[in-house]
Amino acid sequence: MTTAALSPREVHRLALLLEGRCPSCAERLPGGVALEGSQCPRCDTSLRNPHGPLEDWYARRTSARMWVAVVLVGAGAFLTGMLPLVASLLVLAGLAWIRFTIIAPGTRLLSTGRRIVSQWTLRLGGGAFAAGCFIVIEALTLLSFLGMPLKAAIAAVQVAFAAWFSRRYLAWQTRREAARAGVAAWEWALVLGAAAALVLACAVLVVTLVWVKDALAAAMTAVDGGTLAK
């Protein structure tokens, strides 16, 4: 089934379903109900999509959106390749675009538990990915003119990878939601483990910086004491 074969009313109903709304009363549906294909709790409309599985329509829609961010970020990074930080900010803007155009429509279709797991998995993964991206991109600023096309290519690849991964991950989650599979224990463990690792890494960083500062202060005091003793 293609969208060209649908009437405007059918497109309207499908678009509402993809937004996580009832195709008749357009009210927000509780998480997971749209993918299960049961009934709207407000108006009793059947939520079964006559045009094929809703999760497939989600995958198609997001793949059409992801290339916009890739092209825009690549072009922007090429034009501003000589300036530090700008390409990183462009990648950040690309990730924000992915958040609103790929992740948000996908998580809207999920039940509460799965939505929390999915959002935090992508958020924590995205945080680590963004930090790595920034280091790579800023290191390329050292390459002056050659860095410009390299930065553009790498920034575009980074955004494309983030979009591709988010899309695949949420497509997997929407398929599992439609199959009424529960959230696995390892998914929760992964989220909690990643969050704990991130907090731990930040704590280690702070402790290290404090220790270095104290050690420097002690060394300075020793030098001053030695000078005064002489």
Binding site: V11, H12, E55, A104, Q119
Partner: protein
């Protein structure tokens, strides 16, 4: 026997495409010496032992100079001279083959020489540009200087701050989500209208009232955005939709 204009056309082609000019000239002169190429009377001197020896020496020298940038720059004048000579020969040969019988040979030779010198200049610039590129990217020392100039410090600071960047990303993402939820709640109350049947506040996109179940016409219509507009994309995805995804 190969006519001179054909041989010099080959010489011009070889020189322009980057083959060593002295080598091309040597081959031309050797061909004339062996009776395989007919040189014009004015260029007969190229078949003498001394000229052949000089061209052989020039070929070896030209080959050697290309391996060392400093020597190449030092002997650039000589290289330009050889290319100019080759260009002159090609220009003279063009008199018959291109139909310029009435043009003075001096002008043709000068034009050939100028063209050859311009080509040689462009090739030298390309050599310099590629040399600079190699110097800029491949040179380990250059990278060491870059790292000493702050690269190590920058990468170390960035690596050290990576957890903070990741945490900031996560926290700002969470804050953004909360803000988006609050905004969505506020907007949810807006795009509404009274149901024509019972007066309940229903969505503008609704085709059925959730309270009295009356069928109504939507005021606002939704579409599938790019997915709907991009017919080619939709038709290509149709096959994937028709096959079971699980």
């Amino acid at each position: 026997m190969i006519p001179f204009d054909a041989a010099s056309r080959l010489l011009g082609l070889a020189t322009a495409s980057g083959t060593r000019a002295a080598l091309s000239l040597l081959l031309l002169a050797a061909g004339a010496r062996l009776g395989k190429v007919a040189l014009p009377p004015g260029l007969g001197f190229l078949t003498h032992d001394a000229a052949l020896g000089a061209l052989l020496a020039l070929s070896i020298l030209e080959q050697a100079t290309q391996r060392d940038d400093d020597v190449r720059k030092l002997l650039a004048v000589l290289s330009y001279g050889v290319h100019g000579l080759a260009g002159t020969l090609v220009g003279l040969a063009a008199q018959k083959s291109v139909g310029l019988e009435h043009a003075p040979p001096v002008a043709l030779g000068a034009a050939g020489a100028a063209l050859a010198l311009l080509t040689q200049g462009a090739r030298q610039r390309l050599h310099d540009a590629l040399g600079a590129l190699e110097h800029d990217v491949v040179s380990p020392r250059r990278w060491l200087v870059r790292l000493e100039n702050g690269g190590v410090l920058g990468v170390a600071v960035a690596a050290l701050l990576a957890p903070v960047v990741a945490l900031a990303f996560v926290l700002s993402g969470a804050a953004l989500t909360v803000a988006a939820l609050v905004a969505a709640r506020k907007l949810e109350g807006r795009a509404r209208r009274p149901c024509p049947a019972c007066g309940a506040r229903i969505r503008e996109e609704a085709s059925r009232c959730p309270k009295c179940r009356a069928e109504v016409d939507p005021v606002t219509w939704r579409d599938l955005g790019w997915l709907h507009r991009a017919g080619a994309l939709a038709s290509s995805a149709a096959t994937s939709l028709e096959t079971p995804s699980r």
